[in-house]
Amino acid sequence: MPTSFELTPMMMREVIMDHYSNPRHKSTPSGDGYVSIHASSTNCIDDFDVYLKKENGKVADALWNGVSCTISGASTDILCDQLIGKNDEEAHYLIKQYLNMIEEKEFDDSVLDEAIVFMNTGKQAARIHCATMGWTAMDEILYKEEK
């Protein structure tokens, strides 16, 4: 598995908790050039905004901020990590592979890196939306920006 860490349940837990407890990208942007979308959940807790800034055809910055559970918060933070530096095509491909993984379809694990830690989300079907809401919101921004 081409991840930058050893894939044991213990390590996967640590990655999730680390991104939830010490998020790298959890803030509201102070500068210009960001596009944002609100992400919320019908089961009424997760409630945050995602922000994306592009420069020269690539993602220059990705942020999120708001109230989240561990799964939605950590998955969105990991996504922000991975989006930065990617062009649209790479970003869509990454998101598509991740969503395929969550939906338990075939997926290309070579691009997922830390996002692989959410491979078991399907065990808790009620949390699938949490694991994907940040990702689908960012995908929506990317498509909007392309137009």
Binding site: M17, C44, I45, T70, N120, Q124, A126, R127
Partner: protein, 411 residues
């Protein structure tokens, strides 16, 4: 008489069938959301579809007459249960439908600009949002009774909040998050002295405690069938006849009119038929009767005593874990609202799910209350007549192991 929840479980197929969740025996602690149905309710619904199918309202044949009689019998059972007149029982789609009928059929018609609608911050969305719309339509103002420091609605605070402009006071008898019992009888008295109408949300009270509308002297009372062992999609609006006569039907059509003419005039039937246009949820109405009879057979006071005992037990057990904060230790209802230390409510509920325990997490549709509690979300465990101390032991054991919440995904 002390009830025996284990014996009662024989009447519930959800227990007899040993339903599992995540491969574990189901521990059902979401009764404030909905409840299991005893055999007598399911049998009645099946009987309607397998032996008694017909529509209600003035049919000319026996099957239809039979259904009309059964709907009347269900209405009588409800009336006896809440001590109202039979004609004061309106069948609706549920508590939400009932409150919306009062809001749009009565309040939107009678309120004027500058009038006030008094609510509380502990209310469920179904007892807030219809009033928001009525305020928008009429120019009335929304006001809120301040909760005391524990989260209770007190007579003193209602008294302080009433003004000469207060026309409607809409409060839950039992809050769906904290489970405090509001002193409705005393509140009704001060509302009436102020010439205000008291609209009571009984969704969380009627299934769990004796509610006597004549004793309380409330003006309207709403509740749902499915929270008291009955079918989903059916509920009740009780209203004093004088107010029901003033209330417009906000759904019209077949079955609620007396005469109508092409130039647009219509005379409606008397309450409760006036509000029951269209084909009713007949299976729901029929199923409501055995549900209430089951509760009456067990005894509402016995159910209430059982839940109080469970509440005290749950508080004791959860406190002993030293791993959670409880938000409603002293409330009367069988509802415990808490958070596991360091675990977001939604993650906690997922962890409980992984152990087969059904609890609700979130804001429980009472989004304003979370500002009061100082937390974005909570976990809620709620009990009923079939809940056992063993259920609570399993909950407490899970809470004690809350730090391992990501096990939900990895074990």
């Amino acid at each position: 008489m002390k009830l025996d929840p284990i014996a009662l479980r024989n009447d519930f197929s959800m227990y007899r069938n040993a339903v599992k969740m995540q491969g574990k025996p189901l521990v059902w602690l979401d009764n404030a959301s909905t409840t299991f149905k005893p055999d007598c309710v399911i049998e009645e619904i099946v009987r309607y579809y397998s032996e008694e199918t017909a529509n209600s309202h003035r049919g000319d044949y026996d099957l239809c007459y039979n259904i009309d009689q059964k709907i009347l019998a269900s209405r009588k059972t409800v009336a006896h249960f809440i001590n109202s007149e039979v004609e004061e029982v309106v069948f609706t789609t549920g508590t939400t439908g009932s409150i919306n009928l009062v809001a749009f059929g009565y309040a939107a018609k009678t309120l004027k600009e500058g009038d006030e609608i008094l609510l509380s911050e502990a209310e469920h969305a179904s007892n807030l949002l219809p009033w928001f719309k009525v305020a928008e339509l009429t120019g009335a103002r929304l006001a809120y009774v301040p909760l005391d420091k524990e989260g209770r609605i007190t007579v003193e605070n209602v008294q302080k909040s009433l003004t000469p402009k207060t026309k409607i006071v809409a409060l839950a008898q039992v809050g769906n998050v904290l489970g405090f019992v509001a002193p409705i009888k005393e509140i009704a008295a001060i509302c009436h002295r102020n010439h205000s109408i008291l609209v009571v949300d009984g969704a969380q009270s009627v299934p769990h405690m004796k509610v006597d509308v004549k004793d309380l002297d409330c003006d309207f009372l709403s509740f749902s069938g499915h929270k008291l062992l009955g079918p989903t999609g059916v509920g009740v609006l009780y209203g004093k006849m004088s107010l029901l006569l003033e209330t417009d039907p906000y759904v019209s059509g077949g079955g609620n009119n007396d005469k109508f003419y092409k130039e647009g005039t219509v005379t409606f039937l008397k309450p409760p038929m006036k509000f029951e246009a269209g084909t009713l949820n007949i299976e729901g109405i029929l199923g409501l009767k055995p549900a209430i009879e089951y509760i009456e057979k067990v005894g509402i006071e016995n159910i209430n005593a059982h839940e109080r005992e469970l509440k005290a037990y749950a508080v004791e057990k959860l406190k002993a874990t030293k791993n959670c904060v409880i938000y409603n230790e002293d409330s009367e209802a069988g509802i415990v609202t808490f958070n596991i230390d360091g675990v977001f409510a939604q993650d906690a509920a997922t962890f409980l799910n992984s152990r087969g325990i059904a609890c609700r997490s979130g804001q429980h549709c009472a989004k304003i209350l979370n500002d009061f509690l100082g937390t974005p979300a909570t976990v809620r465990a709620s009990f009923y007549l079939y809940t056992t101390k063993e259920d609570i032991d399993l909950l407490a054991d899970a809470v004690a192991h809350g730090k391992e919440f990501l096990d939900a995904y990895f074990i």
